[in-house]
């Protein structure tokens, strides 16, 4: 049995009233949801919020899930949209409250990554990622961290493959330059 049918069975089981199946799905995908949100938002608290939001959407909207696609694509779409919405919301909030840019080192709750050396590398990389424009950051994260093909990214973001490739080209070039500077 493959992952797709496995997930579909769990969804059907949950929809017929078995909450335990939802717990299995949540445990299975919570980490991936967190990492996508964290890489997009650059902040633990925001990423944690997104995880909770996505689980809530999954719980209330799984009855609308179309079984023709993989469950993770559906979850990923929700995560990507919620993350982008939060970025926009935070930008608006920043404009209306006239608050200066927050310091990049406001990571908080750093014990979530236990390996100290990896944590340092991660924080350095996160800083570089945060300096990319949102569209470039999104395609960079989806390509390099989540290994998604352009077709799937296009399906999730609604952008053309050409536009995605152009954004990725600029993103990886900028990341190269940023890593050279360090």
């Amino acid at each position: 049995m493959n992952v797709k049918t496995d997930d579909h069975l769990l969804v059907r089981d949950f929809l017929s009233g078995n909450e335990q199946s939802f717990n299995i799905l949540a445990r299975k995908y919570q980490e991936r949801i967190y990492w996508h949100a964290r890489r997009m938002l650059g902040d633990h608290d925001d990423a944690h919020d997104i995880v909770q939001q996505v689980l809530l959407v999954m719980h209330s909207k799984l009855n609308t899930f179309n079984f023709s696609s993989a469950l993770y694509t559906w979850i990923y779409k929700i995560t990507a949209t919620r993350s982008l919405n939060l970025i926009k919301k935070k930008k608006l909030k920043k404009i209306f409250t006239f608050s200066p840019d927050e310091a990049v080192d406001s990571y908080g709750y750093e014990n979530i990554i236990e390996d100290i050396e990896a944590k340092e590398r991660f924080l350095r990389m996160e800083k570089h990622l945060n300096s990319l424009p949102i569209k470039q950051r999104q395609v960079f994260v989806m390509r390099n961290y989540d290994d998604l093909p352009y077709e799937e990214i296009s399906n999730i973001t609604g952008k053309s493959i050409g536009a995605l490739k152009a954004n990725y080209f600029h993103a990886i070039r900028k990341m190269k330059e940023l890593m050279e500077k360090k």
Binding site: A26, Q52, L55, N111, A118, R121, N144, Y168, R173, K176
Partner: protein
């Protein structure tokens, strides 16, 4: 094709077989190209290493209970928030009424004018009459609010004023021809006759 573009396409496996061969030949011959390629490979390597980063298991275990807790808490009605909404709606309603009041006003302009004229004293009415040049509706309204005697007096005064003005312009023939030669006088007279004055 730019060097960066070639390298990225090479890494993304987007070069045609010919382009790929050509790139690899260039790579063997150029130290700069190799160095550039290595920089891009470092980006790939670094992101690849961080891909496998694991979250603290205690944190992961805390996600689901927190979510379940949120699900179990019944939705509370926030009085403060609802009052805020109510106040906002009221404010918008009041503003809308004050803005649209003028558009939907049923007051007759003639009635407003009548009230205005009635509020004037006699002298103000006369002044207003003098200022008006044939505004029939206003004249009618004003005249309705002035007694017949007052109106007669007003008209008599107007005629007297007009007579004085006419007398001021009554110039005699002799005054007109002062300084003109007989020939000029004849010319003017002929001109007047020709125009059938």
């Amino acid at each position: 094709m730019m060097t960066d573009e070639r390298i990225i396409k090479y890494l993304e496996n987007e070069l045609s077989p010919e382009e790929r061969n050509s790139f690899e030949v260039d790579l063997n011959n150029s130290a700069d190209l190799r160095e550039d390629l290595n920089k891009y490979l470092r980006v790939k390597e670094e992101t690849g290493n961080l891909k496998e980063l694991k979250l603290n298991s205690l944190y992961l275990d805390s996600i689901l209970p927190e979510f379940r807790k949120k699900l179990d808490i019944p939705k509370t009605v926030s009085v403060k928030r609802n009052l805020g909404y109510a106040f906002g709606i009221m404010l918008i309603f009041i503003l809308s009424i004050s803005i649209f009041k003028n558009f939907f006003s049923t007051e007759n302009p003639a009635i407003v004018l009548q009230e205005f004229t009635q509020s004037l004293n006699e002298n103000q009415k006369i002044e207003l009459l003098e200022d008006l040049n044939g505004d029939a509706e206003v004249y009618k309204l004003l005249s309705e609010n002035i007694s017949d005697n007052e109106l007669t007096n007003l008209l008599t005064t107007e005629i007297e004023i007009n007579n004085e003005v006419a007398e001021a312009y009554d110039i005699s023939f002799n005054e007109l021809i002062v300084g003109l030669s007989q020939q000029k006088i004849d010319e003017i007279y002929t001109e007047i006759l020709n125009r059938k004055f």
